[in-house]
Point group: C2
Chain length 313, copies 2
């Protein structure tokens, strides 16, 4: 009887692995280092060895395993082809085929931010919903869209890559992608610091954000909580662009709930106030009412999403 | 043996019906009036009677029919629930159930703009592609997204409703939806006339657009073709907002091709020049290269899409 599956989240420094019961219980969670040298050739064999070791340890046969769902930091097509993952040293190949050959177990792969949306839908803040949009606010901005319980892959596996939506016409600084005025320039951790530095230069107002050795998104929202006026202005700007972008995402994909994860979301519910204010302003009538919430699975979203991917697609 | 299916497109004045072979050949195409009086209660019975009549005429038994795919002017969930269609007088009910009961044939329904995207993918400008975004530029702006060969319904069936994406922060005139700066205000036939009137008022420049009794999107693009400078400025504005919006749609849904249909698209390839200029500026690197094209099925896109819907979903 099939009772188990694996959810795996491949990052640039470590690989997170989870052994799940098919009902959704996480039985074991562990990490192995990511060996990115030599074009990342060792990553999948390391994962296969670690899975085999766990199966042996638990006395589970491969016949009892539904499969392996794996998230990687790059676009993956619905057929498992990754078109390069810079952080891992990977070029183009088929993850499904390679990891299946190494393990003898069925494999489904997807982009890591996308798979996190599926994880949140299954066992996190999106539980009970089937149509979820997730914005991941980290060093950059990523995202994932789940429609009727399934990942929106898109043609090249770049579905839900919302970080480079155009939101601001007058931006003079270039984004990492080469364009100007991308969402990532305002809503990522880096983007918020950029907004803060810009506000501090432009204004002479008192602010607890002055005299900080290193600014961070967390410090900005901590200052907001303490009533800092300049920090409030920065949060307004963050909220305006992110709220508008998510309103546009909602118009295009019609979700039931919108979630916010990643490092910036650790500031908590306060970010939702600023996002919601503008989301409601810009969303189409029908979409104004849907809930916005903070993702709850944190770093485990990827392994939950991997498990759900192999169980559902 | 199953050999046939029906594709139906319900409009406010007439219902278009098509009898197809399952391979995609349109055998018969006809229209019946849409009776919108009495809450549109007669519309589905009229369709059922017309289908039965055609089957009788052709000597086709219901066992030979795969089903009926039907597009309607309103959002339809994946389960067939329409949440009202103002143009038809309809309130909320399940189209699948009602039309199935009337015909004894399996039914799948969707929004009319969305279903047109599926039709274009099957037998129109999107033939050979599986991931298609369509913008319908008519009196308003609608749209449809096809992902991996299937319609993106969304939670309430409003997937692909791109007309009310926010694209302009400084708009002072209100959109029909109550928001300000929606794509529809710049890229619909009505929106283009609005831009033209605004440009004519603002500028004193000579233009063939002056001294027109009635302005239209067609007249604007005709003037563009004749080298009219003011008309060119209007087309630039149209292209900027539509190009930017479609770049954002591409970032979110990762299509292989983007199509433009509806009355405005009858101006032809010239609209693509203006859209493409800004699309390429704003799209994410990976999406800059994908083709933009004019939809080719015209008013038949809906019946083709209906047929494809019942064959594929």
């Amino acid at each position: 009887m099939i009772q188990y599956c694996f959810g795996i989240d491949v990052g640039g420094t470590s690989v997170k692995l989870g052994l799940f019961e098919v009902e959704g219980t996480l039985l074991e969670k562990w990490e192995i280092p990511t060996h990115v040298s030599d074009g990342g050739k060792q990553i999948l064999p390391d994962i296969a060895a670690s899975i085999n070791e766990m199966l042996k340890q638990k006395g589970i046969s491969k016949k009892q395993v539904e499969g392996i769902g794996i998230g990687v930091p790059g676009p993956v097509t619905v057929d498992g082809v990754i078109d390069g993952a810079v952080n891992l040293g990977w070029s183009t190949f088929n993850i499904h085929e390679e990891l299946n050959e190494l393990t003898g177990i069925r494999v489904k792969a997807s982009n890591d931010a996308t798979i996190a949306a599926l994880g949140e839908m299954w066992q996190g803040a999106g539980k009970g919903y089937k149509n979820v949009a997730l914005a991941t606010l980290g060093t950059g901005v990523g995202g994932g869209i789940v429609v009727d319980g399934k990942i929106l892959f898109g043609f090249k596996g770049a579905g839900g890559e919302i970080g480079h939506m155009h939101v601001q016409d007058d931006e003079k600084e270039v984004c990492s992608c080469g364009n100007y005025g991308c969402l990532e320039q305002y809503a990522s951790a880096t983007g918020i610091v950029r907004l803060a530095n810009r506000a501090l230069t432009k204004s002479n107002a008192d602010s607890v954000l002055r005299n900080q050795e290193v600014l961070s998104a967390k410090k900005v929202f901590d200052a907001v909580k303490r009533g800092d006026i300049l920090a409030n202005e920065i949060a307004e700007e963050f909220g305006r662009y992110l709220g508008m972008a998510m309103a546009n995402v909602a118009n295009v994909t019609d979700p039931e709930i919108i979630l916010f994860g990643g490092g910036v979301s650790k500031a908590g519910e306060i970010i939702l106030e600023y996002i919601k204010k503008y989301y409601v302003k810009y969303a189409f009538q029908r979409a104004k009412e849907i809930p916005l919430a903070i993702a709850t699975l944190g770093n485990d979203a990827g392994i939950y999403g991997g498990a759900r991917l192999i169980l559902s697609q």
